[in-house]
């Protein structure tokens, strides 16, 4: 047996092919199970799908190649190794991560992350600042994010007092709010989950918030009022009704 046809060289070729195929399948699986919405902005899902198809295609072509090589006695193509990883490590890492990913179900960020990142009704200095916002005549058509953007442009809460609101989001029991308040929050996504940031508005309830568990999604209908809660004079939704809803298919707003 000539030296280039060593088993280890052949094994490295198989490893490459399997790693590429596994990543292709992983991307397609995220798409087919709908979980890709948890990872990406909807506008860019097609990129991931295209990459998934391309990887499966590339992997397929190379698979046939390697199968032929395994059967035949042709000399193996010279396997190069680049300086960053020892031979096989790059592929092994990719394969391992892809196999793990195939078992893993990404979950949309919820209250814990929102609290870590800080829920605000303002956009801080380094926050990306969208150049437009939708001006709706019917205030109950405004989403939670629309309200926050409007507030950001004109922050005086009194300007909105009395307007009716109908917003959706998940509940957070913010520590600095009294027991009959909860924060209704949503994540905003620009590109992928890495850049999501939470925005939220305080909701004034008729009863204790314990009836409304954290992370449960609600549709809140009510009226805007101005109150000083948590040491801040701010816009609050006086709720008339809270309806449990299921987590939307696309959990982030954009």
């Amino acid at each position: 047996m000539p030296s280039p046809r060593s088993t280890s060289a052949l094994r490295l070729l198989w490893l490459d092919v399997l790693a590429i195929l596994a990543w292709g399948f992983l991307l397609l699986r995220f798409w087919l199970t709908g979980r890709i919405n948890v990872l990406l902005h909807p506008d860019y899902v097609w990129l991931a799908i295209a990459a998934g198809i391309a990887l499966v295609g590339l992997g397929g072509v190379k698979l046939m190649d390697v199968m032929q090589l395994t059967r035949s006695r042709r000399p193996l193509p010279q396997v190069l190794h680049i300086n960053f990883f020892p031979p096989g490590w790059g592929s092994a890492l990719m394969l391992a991560v892809a196999i793990f990913g195939l078992q893993f179900t990404p979950r949309a960020f919820a209250s814990q992350v929102a609290l870590d990142r800080g829920v605000t009704d303002t956009l801080t200095m380094t926050r990306s600042q969208p150049q437009s916002f939708r001006a709706n005549v019917r205030t109950e058509d405004k989403s939670l994010v629309d309200w926050v953007r409007t507030l950001n442009v004109y922050p005086e809460p009194d300007a909105y007092t009395g307007q009716s609101a109908k917003i959706e989001g998940f509940a957070i029991h913010t520590a600095n709010l009294p027991d009959n308040y909860l924060t209704l929050a949503r994540f905003v996504i620009t590109c992928c989950a890495a850049d999501t940031y939470p925005v939220g508005l305080p909701i004034k309830l008729a009863t204790s918030r314990t009836a409304y568990p954290q992370d449960q999604w609600f549709r809140v209908e009510g009226t805007m009022i101005t109150e000083t809660v948590g040491g801040m004079r701010q816009l609050v939704v006086q709720s008339k009704s809270l309806t449990k809803i299921s987590e939307p298919k696309n959990p982030y707003d954009s």
């Binding site: 680049i82 992350v113 380094t126």
Partner: protein
């Protein structure tokens, strides 16, 4: 448990977003490796150092490769007699000033389009300045690795076919985008005429089309597994950092005009993430770090980082790399500080 899930979700979101761009970058670099002859380009280079630097900095639009792919190309340019200003301009700017990176940065930062244009503008500016500084050195050879220096003038006359005929293995080795052997030990290039000739030309050009396509796929696989591995490490670091470091600490570092820039430059240097996808990495810091520091990450990282220092050592001596590093770092710092102070 929740935090662990957040880390993983972040990690896979970065990977899923970056993978298409990595694939595209690898595809382009492989196609160009097979089909473009850079010698024609060199024939058209202006003599003026500034113009040559500008041209070199802009040919990333023709050769859109990331910082791992550009070192071998820059070396081929040098050995084929390109003016130093052109080769260094290309080396520093090509990973950023190219359509794929522009598109990826645009998608990541479409809410802050100024970042995208400033990234390209600053990269061009720094590349041209450093290239002009180097062009004042009339003979670049003392700064180059002996093998490259020796290959520069003498072996230009050799035809690519001479090197190909007798050693297909060496061809393959030379043609790839990477040239280092075992960690830290660059491939020996001092083997005399034959190897120097391989350096001079792109031996892929003379092969028949089916062979080219096959080699192109091989090259794609090779780059994918290396860069994919690095991307995984980079994405893992980014997602762990984002969840594990207390928000107050990140904010105090990230909101300082100077500390934020320094932190992001160190991060760029350490993480060594491919320029095709580094915009998505930077994006995960977009809400807590100043615009100037994000820009510093995006401009400095592709020019010089931990990973490509090993690659650069296959062309330059340590002293030259130190000059490039210091010049690029200082210029990046000053320019992005100006952004922090006067723009954002």
């Amino acid at each position: 448990m929740v935090q662990w899930n957040s880390v993983l979700t972040l990690f896979f979101s970065l990977m899923v977003e970056a993978m298409p761009f990595l694939l595209l970058g690898v595809l382009f670099s492989s196609v160009l490796l097979m089909f473009v002859d850079e010698r024609r380009l060199i024939a058209a280079v202006p003599k003026n150092a500034l113009l040559a630097a500008l041209l070199g900095s802009s040919i990333g639009f023709l050769f859109p490769v990331c910082e791992c792919g550009n070192v071998p190309v820059a070396r081929r340019l040098l050995v084929q007699g390109a003016p130093p200003a052109m080769a260094i301009g290309y080396l520093l700017a090509a990973p950023t000033v190219n359509p794929i990176v522009f598109w990826a940065t645009w998608i990541a930062f479409r809410d802050q389009p100024e970042l995208v244009f400033l990234r390209v503008g600053f990269s061009l500016l720094i590349a041209v300045i450093v290239a002009c500084v180097f062009s004042t050195q009339a003979d670049l050879r003392p700064l180059l690795q002996p093998a490259v220096a020796r290959a520069m003038p003498a072996t230009r006359v050799q035809k690519p076919t001479q090197s190909r005929a007798d050693n297909p293995g060496a061809d393959l080795l030379q043609s790839g985008t990477f040239l280092l052997g075992k960690a830290g030990a660059p491939l020996r290039l001092d083997g005399g005429g034959m190897q120097a000739a391989v350096l001079v030309s792109n031996p892929m050009l003379a092969k028949p089309l089916p062979e080219k396509l096959r080699l192109m796929l091989d090259n794609m696989m090779q780059e994918l597994r290396e860069l994919g591995g690095i991307l995984i490490l980079g994405a893992a670091i980014a997602s762990v950092l984002q969840v594990a470091i207390p928000r107050e600490a990140v904010l105090s570092l990230g909101q300082g005009q100077i500390t934020s820039i320094l932190a992001m430059m160190v991060l760029a240097w350490v993480v060594s993430i491919c320029s095709t996808v580094d915009a998505f990495f930077a994006l995960s810091f977009a809400s807590t770090f100043t615009s100037g520091s994000l820009l510093a990450f995006l401009v400095f990282g592709p020019m010089i980082d931990l990973k490509n220092i090993a690659l650069l050592l296959s062309v330059f001596k340590g002293r030259a790399i130190a000059y490039i590093f210091i010049l690029a770092a200082q210029l990046t710092f000053v320019l992005t500080l100006l952004v922090n102070l006067y723009v954002s």
